[in-house]
Symmetry: C2
Subunit: 157 residues, 2 copies
DNA sequence: TTCGCTGCAAACCATTTGCACCCAT
DNA sequence: ATGGGTGCAAATGGTTTGCAGCGAA
């Protein structure tokens, strides 16, 4: 099972992208990207910026936005908009299978799932409407076990 | 097949809501709501405001927003956020079956569909993750027959 | 007469952009 | 030394809100 680490593969794809587009590698970008890879899944520019500030107080929010946009352009991150007002970025390896999200409206937790049966049904729906399907978005909103049980959940701002 | 008109039923539910909440019926609200019901499906506050301006130039955008919010609170409209930056409101009768959307990325056309099989699969996914499902959102993005055929489509701003 | 309602403009807030200086290449 | 990168502050753009006057009950 020799499987190249998804992360190192992503880093290579990232520097390839920089090179091919005449962009430069900088300390800030490296920091942002490494932090982004560390906290895998569904982080917002603001949250990422806050985390970075803990150790590098001078990094600007604008740079975080700009870098995340590069990652998205390079095909290494996906912009996701749930219903909490702002954009979250999620790590997306080139060979990842498509997945969807189930979101807890109590505590904001996000889990991922994939279901090929649903995908197939979607293709069929698109065909029925004479659409060529390019992408789709499926989000299930509900209460996770913990939030359904008791408390209102510590709303993770 | 005696079936009370969905619209008159909605209007009744609307005035009930106003009464129960100590809110007043006004000319502006009536205009906004009637226009909203007329252009069924997926209209934004701005588009609605523009339409109303044609005949009633003094209506303010803020009032449109406020009224749409009332409709949403009354359970007569759903707020929908696709990927074009702003919120669209869609008519939603209390007895409507849930439906999802298929959106053309070429011309912005939106069609509705429902698929109970997909719904069932979603319930199953939620159960597997120990979530109590409350709501869900499924959007298929693609090209409609017209846009897939030739032109880039007259992007409906 | 009482409050809620309205239009306007200002405020919000996440995200973007202009700019002058900084730093990889 | 070039030209892209950065932080800051200002601009944006959809949506919300404060306020003084208006109008439904």
């Amino acid at each position: 099972m020799t499987k190249t680490s998804g992360q190192s593969m992503a880093l290579r794809k990232y520097s390839d992208y920089l090179a091919r587009h005449g962009l430069k590698s900088t300390v800030q970008r490296d920091l942002i990207i490494s932090e982004f890879f560390k906290s895998r899944g569904h982080i917002s520019a603001d949250e990422l910026h806050a985390k970075l500030r803990e150790t590098h107080s001078s990094i600007g929010l604008a740079t975080v936005y700009r870098t995340l946009k590069i990652l998205a352009d390079a095909g290494l991150a996906h912009e996701r908009r749930f219903n909490d007002g702002f954009t979250r970025y999620e790590y997306y390896a080139p060979d990842d299978t498509h997945h969807d999200h189930i979101v807890c409206v109590g505590c904001g937790a996000v889990e991922e799932f994939e279901n090929t049966e649903i995908e197939k049904l979607q293709e069929r729906v698109a065909a029925k409407h004479h659409f060529k399907m390019l992408d789709h978005k499926l989000e299930i909103y509900g209460l996770c076990a913990k939030c359904a049980a008791g408390d209102g959940g510590a709303q993770k701002k």
